[in-house]
Amino acid sequence: MDALLTVRGVVKEFPGVRALDGVDLEVAPGEVHCLLGQNGAGKSTLIKVLSGAHRADEGEIHWQGAPVSFGTPVAALRAGLATIYQELDLVAGLSVAENVFLGHEPATLGFSRRGAMNEAATALLARLGHPDIRATREVGSLSAAGQQVVSMARALSHHARLIVMDEPSAVLDSGEVANLFRVIRQLTADGVAVVYISHRLDEIREIGDRVTVLKDGRTVAVGLPARTTPTAEVVRLMTGRTVEYAFPRAAAAPAGGAEILRVEGLTRPGEFADVSFTVHSGEIVGLAGLVGSGRSEIVETVYGARKAAAGEVVVDGKRLRPGSVPAAIRAGLGLAPEERKSQGLLLHEPVYRNVSVSSLGRFSRGGFVLSGPELAAAAAVAEQLDVRPADPRRLVRALSGGNQQKVVLARWLLRGCRLLILDEPTRGVDVGARTEIYRLVRSLADSGVGVLMVSSEIPEVLGLSDRVLVIREGRVVHTGPAGEIDESGVLDLVMEGAVA
């Protein structure tokens, strides 16, 4: 079969960084080609070169057999190469159809033909297997999954032959991912090729045909069979290591420390009801559940970021004032929130200030910041967690996802908290850094900290936690040791009664 897209020896340099240093890629029509690599391996740059947002410094790109150089994203789109970025580029206030045809609305003499547009959009959505999304609905009211479908319909409206998807599953729960895969199969059956980027190896096994692996801006493997290449081999290619990625075990003595957190009958109408559980010193408790099941709302309420309508949160035997984050922090709680960038980090500021922000009181006298001790202490914790690059004065936004997460953890390590709440601790974190974060969380627990964790990834919850709570529709439906339930057991509990 003739290749749809061939990339050879592409090099892209930014001042001081060689982001791409000889990348090869070959995509056949109708295949799902997976692009793997750690954060910083050059995936995003490669996508931007393909989509015309960046121009390659060296190397060649052949599109349908002819050499091309897309100067702008519009040129690439016209040629049939569409890109769906992580942050969807939809206009929330416009309708589905208006978004699909944004920039190329069907029109006569400048007057838009609304009816024709809605019909065409409906047809495209049906082709993607989603006749349930009305063309006239406002895009802002759709879920993340629905918005993704709209983005794909937009790509199809440009007669795309190749759609690049940058971590489409990052914002989806498992049911929605299954749906995404159905849509992708629909596309490939029509002969559209998909370049699929994900950190999740199991997804790549399920949906991918071939895999290309990037490391440090270079291609280290081209066109491996997605289903049969052993995981160990893929991880080795990505990381240059042969270690199988594993969850650290608890220290020899099983968790049996003093009770740190007791939650009783916690309720917020419409979000969750009558939630009760405990966390002990040295214990990791995992909350499993779908997006929207209320798990993030529960931990945010424990933390005081939301105010409970009923029930109480008790830390070390003392009842917490509801709806007060400062009170929770004083009692020894810390939160690494779900949306790291919008909820966790001060992106304009350097690493050390992000670390010290919750401990400023300790580094001040009479309201004046003692910047020397502050910097030294923050830098020491950052170094302990191996935040890279090691310069604590560097702007936090220049760090990779994994290192940003370490900065948030360093904040609570510096403060010295009794109970650490982790909401999606490894979202957007590459495989190598994940293992480090797992180890870090476990060693924190071993030092006596209680950990309450929320994750969409069931293997992560099961692998890291000592005890698992399964949440469905705002209620705790199962509590038990992590060893006594497996992935399919949790999935059953989580999905039971949910519309597939």
Binding site: I329, V357, A390, L440, L444
Partner: protein, 349 residues
């Protein structure tokens, strides 16, 4: 305070993950990339404004026949800059903290009128000063509470305050200019210490206090955090609402100080004082390199912005040019400064 409690020390036995080969490569690659560009960017921007000032000075020397670079003219510029400059200090706090205060000009007017009513003047100059400060802070508190606790948009709340504070000033004064009878108030504008007017010392003192609070205290640190990412600041344990409210009180306090200065300088309290100060102050903050969305900025930049504007006015006056042209020039400078900043930001990661 929220974080005065003694926190337990960092757990000593946290495992330090080993540095693998991959990590070293990554570190080497990124460390050389752009060392501390973010830290220097604001200084570079301020340097740009200093450059503008130098150009203006050169133009001044070349066109004014020796009038520009005289001691009296320089002091003249500083005195003219002092009142709007004090207002700009407060504005800088509000904008870095993620807000905007459109009511500053009206608050200067209201404070000047309230402090110069016959009833207030009866109590003497000390009470007049306290009255001006309290009126400014009180109005600022109303702004702050409505914005922070009433969850209203700063633009709308302070716009409403602009209209109603000026209206209140008009009704209190019956639209008449009120003469300041206390000599000690008027002397603030006429006294020189070591050959420099007291107004300039006041201006310098407000800048100094503002700089220290913004750059050396936990309050200043939190101002940047609250402006840069209010949600992250809240989840990190900062009382974002109280902090935002306080920023408007600071702005109101600065308006009260400016009101005293304008009363001294004009020997009057009037509902027309401080007209369009909000625009001059916001413009100065913006050309000073502070992000209008909050979280980043410098006080020195704002002050340089004020001095640039005042110097332009001075040059036009010295050259007998009409004020219309002067306003056009100011507008162009605002646009040029923002364009320059965008280039600076494009260079940042």
């Amino acid at each position: 305070m929220t974080d005065r409690t003694e926190a337990p020390a960092v757990p000593a036995d946290v495992v330090v993950p080993p540095v693998d080969e991959q990590g070293r490569v990554e570190r080497a690659a990124t460390a050389t990339a752009r060392p501390r560009l973010g830290g220097r960017l604001s200084e570079v921007r301020n340097l740009g404004l200093v450059g503008v000032l130098v150009i203006l000075a050169v133009v001044g020397i070349a066109t004014t026949d020796g009038q520009f670079l005289t001691r009296s003219n320089i002091l003249n510029i500083l005195v003219s800059a002092s009142i709007i400059g004090v207002v700009t200090v407060g504005m800088t706090f509000v904008i870095i903290g993620g807000g905007i205060d459109l009511s500053v000009g009206a608050l200067v007017a209201l404070a000047s009128v309230w402090a110069t009513t016959l009833a207030t003047q009866d109590y003497g100059p000390v009470v007049m000063v306290i009255c001006a400060l309290l009126v400014g802070m009180g109005a600022g508190l109303v702004n702050g509470v409505l914005i922070a606790y009433g969850r209203l948009v700063p633009f709308i709340v302070t716009l409403a305050m602009l209209v109603s504070a000026r209206g209140l000033a008009q009704s209190l004064s019956d639209r008449r200019t009120q003469l300041v009878t206390a000599d000690s108030i008027n002397q603030i504008a006429t006294t020189d210490v070591l050959g420099i007017p007291l107004l300039v010392y006041l201006f310098a003192a407000v800048i100094a206090v503002g700089w220290v609070v913004l750059n050396r205290t936990t309050f200043g640190r939190r101002t940047f955090a609250v402006g840069g990412n209010p949600e992250a600041a809240r989840l990190a344990g900062i009382d974002v609402r109280r902090h935002s409210a306080l920023l408007y009180v600071i702005s109101g306090l600065c308006c009260g100080i400016a009101a005293i200065m304008i009363m001294a300088r004009t020997t009057t309290g009037s509902s027309t004082h401080g007209d369009l100060y909000e625009l001059d102050a916001i413009a100065a903050v913006i050309i000073g390199g502070t992000l209008l969305t909050g979280g980043r900025g410098t006080l020195i930049g704002s002050i340089l912005g004020v001095v640039v504007f005042t110097t332009i006015t001075n040059l036009f006056v010295l050259n007998n040019l009409p004020t219309e042209v002067q306003n056009i020039a100011k507008g162009l400078i605002i646009v040029a400064a923002v364009l320059l900043q965008r280039r600076g930001r494009a260079a940042a990661p």
